[in-house]
């Protein structure tokens, strides 16, 4: 019985391991596991302190996990469980929907990460979160509906410049206060690789040569953040 299950699993899994999808799947899995570990590893600290910075920081990683679930894991699960045999859906429409969700959740994750370091400066006004949701929706719509590559590229480059600028201001402030600013370099790298990830999805073949490098570097940054979180929380 177990042998049959293993053979069946192998038949399903094999096509994914061919080409780039296998690597992408492993990469997404690493990001999801790291993000969820950060989210659950900080649960107690937030439960005790109700600190807004910790709240947005946790939400950022929850949204990263959801985004990467829609990036590739959901496709794997749908094919693995042969969902198309039960529900007939267009693969193209499904692709657009998952891309939209990936863009929305990953943009929100970045906005939450930004908000976690800037919430005090922005007066802790939680209404800004709605503005971020709106911006993330615009980015997701612009990236999925528009076929114009320049618009897609422009939108994401604008977003990166905006994020880099905010991180720079946060970095300057923390340097003045002489406390914990060493992580801003990691944040900037995270945002840079996030943009490269998006370009890799939106404009296929654009970064094909460097795909593996982008995956490795992005995973490395997530693992580094996870390590720092676990070290600090004593989890």
């Amino acid at each position: 019985m177990l042998f049959l299950v293993l053979i069946k699993m192998r038949l399903f899994v094999e096509p994914f391991l061919r080409g780039g999808f296998g690597v992408e799947l492993i990469y997404s899995f690493v990001i999801i596991v790291c993000s969820l570990m950060v989210y659950f590893g900080t649960k107690e600290l937030y439960g005790l302190s109700s600190h807004k910075g910790i709240k947005y920081f946790r939400q950022a990683f929850l949204f990263f996990a959801i985004a990467y679930f829609f990036r590739s894991l959901i496709k794997f699960l749908l094919i693995f469980f042969n969902v198309r045999a039960i529900f007939d859906f267009s693969p193209r429409a499904f692709g657009i929907l998952t891309l939209f969700l990936f863009m929305y959740f990953s943009s929100m994750a970045v906005f939450y990460l930004l908000y976690s370091v800037m919430w005090k400066k922005w007066d802790g006004n939680s209404k800004k979160v709605y503005l971020f949701h709106l911006l993330a929706l615009v980015i997701a719509f612009g990236s999925t509906i528009s076929m114009n590559l320049q618009l897609r590229l422009g939108l994401n480059i604008f977003l990166f410049i905006f994020v880099a600028f905010v991180v720079y201001i946060a970095y300057k402030n923390s340097r003045e206060k002489k406390k914990g600013y060493n992580l801003y370099v990691i944040y900037t790298l995270l945002f840079a690789f996030w943009i490269l990830n998006i370009l890799d999805i939106l404009i296929p073949n654009f970064l094909q040569t460097f795909q593996l490098f982008i995956y490795l570097a992005s995973s490395g940054i997530f693992l580094l953040i996870l390590y720092k979180v676990l070290k600090k929380t004593g989890s």
Binding site: L48, H51, F57, G180
Partner: protein
Amino acid sequence: MEKRGKLRIIKDILQIIQENQNSIKSTPLLRKSNLSSQRFSEYLTMLLEKKLVKEIEDKQGKKCFTLTDKGFKYLRRYEIIVGFIDEFGL
């Protein structure tokens, strides 16, 4: 004198309760916490809502404040919470 943050004020109030054999009346708690009565009242309400402290009656039937398990945990984890916030610039 350095301005205390919210987390620090919570820690100070909890520590005062703990150092008083985990039972203290409202008036000495207000005096020892170095807060205005309005801010003290806000903090006390928040601590009760978050279940970090609870209200009990002492042997004379007077109302006192005591730490809950969550309150003790907060004191134990305070340095970790502050360290985490500083490390990630939150």
